[in-house]
């Protein structure tokens, strides 16, 4: 049975990469917001999630997170910095929304998380892994492609 990979990003760079390097191991679908990801997973659960971290090209009204609350609580009312923070961390916020909806597939980020940050993400969101760059072999291993 073909394993399902859902790519979640604000552009197309991850999907382009996945189609070239991962298509032999996964059937690849793409979503560009939390709403699209939730809809895709409700139609067909994924075996793995490949999640972008920054969503700076996404429309603000599609972002997960309460801008007013974030602005007030963490940035002294500075909405610009709060919006930047939501964009910078959007991938983890989307993952949180997916976990809250019961979708627990392994999530992989292409990012240099400090070890403690990755530990915290695993504590919050379960099976989370990270690779530092677009290294196809490392990504295949992290996504569990070898066991397909």
């Amino acid at each position: 049975m073909v394993r399902q990979l859902l790519v979640i990003e604000d552009g197309h760079e991850y999907e382009e990469f996945a189609q070239l390097f991962l298509a032999d191991a996964f059937e690849i679908r793409a979503a560009h917001s939390a709403a699209e990801a939730l809809s895709a997973l409700e139609q067909d659960e994924a075996d793995a999630l490949l999640v972008d971290l920054r969503f700076d090209r996404a429309p603000a009204d599609t972002l997960v997170g309460d801008l007013d609350e974030m602005s007030r609580r963490r940035f002294g009312g500075d909405r610009h910095r709060a919006l930047r923070h939501l964009m910078d961390q959007q991938g983890t916020l989307i993952l949180g929304a997916l976990r809250a909806a019961g979708h627990d597939a392994r999530a992989v980020f292409v990012h240099d998380f400090p070890p403690q940050r990755l530990t915290n993400l695993c504590r919050l969101y379960g099976d989370v892994r990270a690779v530092s760059g677009f290294d196809a072999a490392a990504l295949r291993e992290a996504l569990g492609a070898e066991s397909a």
């Binding site: 552009g11 197309h12 760079e13 382009e16 990469f17 070239l20 390097f21 971290l53 920054r54 700076d56 090209r57 930047r84 910078d88 292409v110 990012h111 240099d112 530092s132 760059g133 677009f134 290294d135 196809a136």
Partner: protein, 129 residues
């Protein structure tokens, strides 16, 4: 702005630069052994990595724009080095597009060095104190 906030911003800008330029520019180069030419199927991706990084802009233009906030507060030779590497990539664009072996190999080397340089910049928080 407090020094802590300024340093936080600096680190965040460096991380964005690594994400927006350093990570994507090496999608092809990371998966081709040094000194080896990429298979034909990967050559269009190499062109995108360098000359349409976000689907539209050249890596050089994207880097120039995204590095401005860092340059405004820190002078770091690594930013100049990346700028020069990407200018060189633009200079050899015609040969890379034509599939000239020497140009493709140089382009791959540029991609690798840009990624490693921006990774180092991000790792130390955005620049020299």
């Amino acid at each position: 702005m407090s020094p802590d906030v300024a340093n936080d911003d600096l680190a965040a800008h460096a991380r964005r630069l690594l994400h927006d330029v350093g990570k994507y520019i090496a999608r092809t180069a990371r998966n081709v052994a040094e000194g080896q030419l990429p298979p034909d199927v990967l050559r269009p991706l190499l062109l995108q990595d360098l000359y349409a990084l976000d689907g539209t802009h050249k890596a050089s233009a994207l880097f120039h724009e995204r590095a401005l906030p860092l340059r405004a507060v820190r002078d770091d030779a690594r930013l100049d080095r990346v700028e020069a590497l990407l200018a060189r990539a633009d200079a050899i664009e015609a040969d890379v597009r034509a599939g000239e072996d020497h140009a493709v190999l140089e382009a791959l080397a540029i991609c690798r060095e840009v990624e490693s340089t921006l990774r180092a910049l991000a790792a130390d928080g955005g620049g020299e104190a």
